[in-house]
């Protein structure tokens, strides 16, 4: 079991209840879609996975460690095992593709030689050979998201979290990005993807968790076909 949520609630200081008594288990190697309308609690759920936010109540375990009880100084270690892909890519405009990817390894103090080797590896994996020295501004949206995914993969995470990774992309490009994510999942990385895109989810035949008003209203548990969306 990689991720466990036990009766997790999140209430913001302004009184908004983002998550309401959510319990969920995610196995190693799973591919999970997190769906639901805006304001259903997807973002809060995702942000709690890497402790950008703390639950108001309940417990969260990742790889059998409580991240609620975790000390502040241990948080960096947790995050090094999690790769995050953003809707708006969050690439550094003044760094090249290779530098953006290397950045993720530099900040965790990886040795120089290892960085060089790994950067070449992940650039190949996401299919961006030849773009190493290009700046993000010169790339298309789909290519920029590939850089974002490559950066998330650089530190060989156990868990890849993608928050609306196709939100800014057209449908063809989205499908290409999905293929890349399935490929990453096949190689053993657990993937959690929050999304609005029903077409992508329907085509995928993967586990779907539906959130509404902070509660899980359906969970296909790998039996997607039985659930209406």
């Amino acid at each position: 079991m990689l991720v466990q949520f036990y009766n997790v609630s999140k209430i913001y200081p302004n009184g908004v209840k983002a998550l309401d008594d959510v319990s969920l288990k995610i196995d190693r190697g799973e591919f999970l879609f997190l769906m639901g309308p805006s304001g259903a609690g997807k973002s809060s759920f995702v942000k709690m996975l890497f402790r950008e936010e703390m639950p108001t109540r309940g417990q969260i375990f990742i790889a059998s460690r409580s991240i609620v009880r975790m000390k502040r100084s241990e948080v960096p270690k947790l995050r090094r095992n999690i790769g995050i892909v953003f809707q708006d890519f969050k690439l550094l405009e003044n760094k090249t593709v290779a530098e953006n990817i290397a950045f993720a390894m530099e900040v965790v103090g990886s040795p120089h030689r290892q960085i060089k080797k790994r950067v070449t590896q992940v650039i190949k994996q996401v299919g961006l050979e030849g773009c190493e020295n290009t700046f993000p501004g010169q790339l298309s949206g789909g290519e920029q998201q590939r850089v974002g995914i490559a950066r998330a993969l650089a530190n060989e995470p156990l868990l890849l979290i993608a928050d609306e990774p196709t939100g800014n992309l057209d449908i063809d490009t989205s499908l290409e990005i999905m293929d890349l994510l399935y490929d990453i999942n096949r190689k053993g990385t657990t993937v959690i993807m929050a999304t609005h895109a029903r077409e992508l989810v329907k085509a995928a035949h993967k586990r779907v968790v539906m959130l509404e008003k902070g509660q899980i209203i359906s969970d296909t548990q790998n039996r997607y076909e039985e659930q209406p969306i």
């Binding site: 950008e52 960096p76 995050r79 999690i82 950045f103 993720a104 900040v107 965790v108 103090g109 120089h112």
Partner: protein, 294 residues
């Protein structure tokens, strides 16, 4: 910490300084002006209190002795005065000596006071120096009460006013320095906050990728230290040149003495240098914490 990490910190710090070169220039100018004013205020206050010290140490008590007191009683009186707490030294001045001094004051040869006056009108006296000039009025009162003392003179009234003035000069000087130091911290932290704000996206990303707090902070600290250091060096150079030329001119013209002790001046400059670095670190620390809370 590996050599590569140190190289990374340094290159990040200098890249950022170069990338935001207008901001860098503004901050350095900012720090330089602050430390220049701070240093000028320190030098001014030190000089003022130096002058005040000189003025104050000139204050002494003159105790005139009853005319018909015997020599042995005078010695007795001297012992009594010496026993009063806070007395530094006591000198006996005979009336003949007193007349001689008076004559010198009047220009020596032009008036022959000795022949003008039929007999010496002066009295024997003690000149009393005290340890703490502020205690003069109090000690003078005690001396006056002793039998055999005719009158005590210490510039009554004037001395109290002088002390009042010097007290305020010191207070105002100190308050000015404290206010300027606060102003400097505020200005630098504002400028560094701007630099950090322009890189908040990068900081957020670093934190989410799993960078430790000190790893994120380090390049900014190097930046802050560099800004404080360069600003301080510029300020100190200006101060050293400016003060040096003041020493050259004032020393020959003015009646009061200003501080020329090189050892003391170098110490002041070193303290200002340290102040620049500390200001840079403090300002960075206060500016960064908000953005680290991810």
């Amino acid at each position: 910490m590996s050599l590569l990490t140190i190289k990374y910190f340094l290159s990040e710090a200098f890249k950022s300084l170069y990338r935001n070169r207008l901001l860098t220039f503004a901050t350095i100018a900012n720090v330089a002006i602050c430390i220049l004013i701070l240093g000028a205020a320190v030098l001014l206050t030190l000089n003022a209190s130096n002058i005040i010290d000189n003025l104050e140490s000139d204050v002494e008590i003159v105790a005139f002795i009853d005319k018909d007191l015997a020599d042995s009683d005078e010695d007795h009186l001297k012992n009594k005065i010496e026993k009063i707490e806070g007395i530094k030294s006591i000198d006996f001045v005979s009336k003949e000596e007193g007349l001689k001094r008076l004559q010198e004051k009047f220009g020596g040869l032009e008036y022959d006071l000795g022949s003008t006056l039929e007999e010496n009108p002066l009295r024997n006296s003690f000149e009393i120096q005290v340890v703490d000039p502020h205690q003069v009025p109090e000690i003078a009162k005690k001396v006056e009460k002793l039998s055999g003392v005719y009158k005590v003179n210490y510039g009554q009234g004037v001395v109290e006013k002088l002390f009042q003035v010097t007290k305020w000069v010191r207070i105002v000087g100190l308050v000015t320095i404290v206010l300027l130091a606060f102003g400097a911290v505020f200005l630098i932290s504002t400028t560094i906050r701007l630099a950090i704000f322009s890189r908040r996206k990068e900081i957020y990303l670093m934190k989410l990728i799993g960078a430790t707090d000190w790893f994120v902070r380090m390049p900014f600290f190097l930046e802050g230290v560099f800004l404080g250091l360069i600003g301080a060096v510029i300020a100190i150079l200006c101060l050293a040149v400016g003060y040096g030329s003041i020493i050259g001119h004032v020393d020959t013209v003015m009646f009061f003495s200003i501080i020329t002790d090189m050892g003391l001046l170098i110490n002041i400059y070193l303290i200002l240098l340290g102040a620049g670095i500390i200001l840079g670190i403090l300002a960075t620390y206060f500016s960064l914490n908000k953005f680290l809370d991810v």
